[in-house]
C-alpha cells in the first residue's frame, strides 16, 4: 500500500467522479482520474528520464571506447611496424659501423708492421750507428711507410666519416620510439578507464605490479636495476655473487 501512500483521492474528488459517471460525462471522469494519478506519473516519468539519460551516457561512453578498437586494429599494428623499423635501423647502423671498423683494423695492422720494420734501423740512425747500405734500406722503408700512411689516412678519414654517419639512426629511432611511448600511454589510460568502468580501481590494479617473467626465467636487459633487489647492477655484482658461491 506504500506505493499509494502519496496518492490521495479526496472525498470531493470521489464525489465528483461519481457525479461525472452518473451524468454520463465519461471524458470528464477520465480527466479526473488522470489528474488524480498525475503525481505518480510525473515521478515515473522522471525516473524513466533519468534511466534514459544514463543509458544514453553509457552508449556514448561505449562510443568513446571504440577508440580502443582503433588502437587494436590500427595503432598497435602501426607501432609494431615502427618498432621493427627501429630494429632494422639500429642493426644497419651497427653493421655499417662494424664494416668501417673492420676495414680500419688491417690498415692499422699494415702501418704498425711497417713501423716495426723501420724501427731497428731508425734506432741505429738515432745512435749514429747506421752504415750507408742500411741508410739506403731505411730510406726505402720510410718512403714506403710515408706513402702508405699518406694514402691510408685518407681512406681512414672516409671510413671514420662512415662511422659518424651511421649514428644518424639515433635521431630517427628516438622519434619513432617516442611515438610508441605515447601510444602505450594511451592504451594504458584506456585500459584503466575500462577497469574503472568494471569497478576495479587503478590503485587495486597497481598493487600487483611486478611484471611477469617469460619462460625459462628470461627477462632481457633490466632497465630499472636500482629499483629492484633481485637483479645485479654491474659486472662487479656478478663477480661478487659468483665468488660468494665459491667461483
Amino acid at each position: 500500500m506504500s506505493a499509494l501512500s502519496n496518492c490521495h483521492v479526496s472525498l470531493e474528488q470521489a464525489k465528483s467522479l461519481v457525479e461525472f459517471l452518473e451524468s454520463g460525462q465519461q471524458e470528464a471522469a477520465d480527466e479526473l482520474i488522470a489528474e488524480i494519478q498525475n503525481p505518480i506519473n510525473s515521478e515515473l516519468f522522471a525516473e524513466i528520464g533519468k534511466l534514459t539519460r544514463q543509458l544514453h551516457d553509457s552508449l556514448m561512453n561505449f562510443q568513446l571506447d571504440s577508440r580502443l578498437s582503433d588502437l587494436a586494429t590500427a595503432d598497435i599494428p602501426d607501432a609494431k611496424e615502427r618498432l621493427n623499423y627501429v630494429i632494422t635501423r639500429t642493426e644497419e647502423a651497427a653493421n655499417k659501423t662494424m664494416d668501417a671498423v673492420e676495414a680500419i683494423f688491417p690498415v692499422v695492422d699494415t702501418i704498425q708492421g711497417q713501423i716495426e720494420t723501420v724501427n731497428p734501423l731508425w734506432a741505429k740512425l738515432m745512435n749514429n750507428k747506421l752504415d750507408v747500405a742500411e741508410f739506403k734500406s731505411l730510406c726505402i722503408d720510410i718512403d714506403a711507410l710515408l706513402t702508405n700512411t699518406g694514402n691510408e689516412t685518407e681512406h681512414m678519414r672516409s671510413l671514420m666519416t662512415d662511422v659518424l654517419m651511421a649514428q644518424d639512426f639515433q635521431d630517427l629511432t628516438g622519434q619513432v620510439i617516442r611515438k610508441v611511448i605515447d601510444l602505450v600511454r594511451e592504451v594504458e589510460d584506456s585500459l584503466i578507464n575500462m577497469l574503472t568502468a568494471f569497478g576495479i580501481t587503478a590503485d587495486k590494479a597497481l598493487e600487483q605490479t611486478k611484471p611477469k617473467v617469460g619462460e625459462n626465467l628470461v627477462e632481457g636487459p633490466i632497465v630499472n636495476t636500482q629499483a629492484r633487489d633481485d637483479v645485479v647492477e654491474s659486472q662487479d655484482d656478478v663477480d661478487d655473487l659468483l665468488s660468494s658461491l665459491g667461483f
Partner: protein, 132 residues
Amino acid sequence: MPEGALDKNMKVLVVDDFSTMRRIVKNLLRDLGFTNIQEADDGSTALPMLQGGDFDFVVTDWNMPGMQGIDLLKAIRADANLAHIPVLLITAEAKKEQIVMAAQAGVNGYIVKPFTAGTLKTKLDKIFERLG
C-alpha cells in the same frame, strides 16, 4: 698469466641470435689473438656443431629463440664428449637467480651486457688460468 700461455689457435664457437653481437664478440676475440672462430645463432644450431667438431671454447648468449644458452650449457655438461668445454655466458640476463642457476649448471664465466673489451679479456684469462 704469462703471455702466450693461452692457445690462440683454439677453436671457439660464438652463439648469439643477433648477428651484430656475434660480430662484436668475434672482433674482440680476434683482437685478443683468436683466429679460429665459428658462429651459431642459437643452442639448437650450436649443439650439433659442438658434437661434430673439436671445439675448445664456447661463448654464448642466454636469451635466444629455439634452445636457450642455459639449456645449451646443460646439454654440454650432460654430454660426456663435450662436458670438458669451458662455457662463457655473455648475456643481458641480470637476475641473481639466473646467475646462481648458471653457476649451478657449471658455467665457467658470466658477463652481463653491456660489457667492455677489458671485461672479456679478464674473464678469458681467468677461465683459462683456472683450467691451467
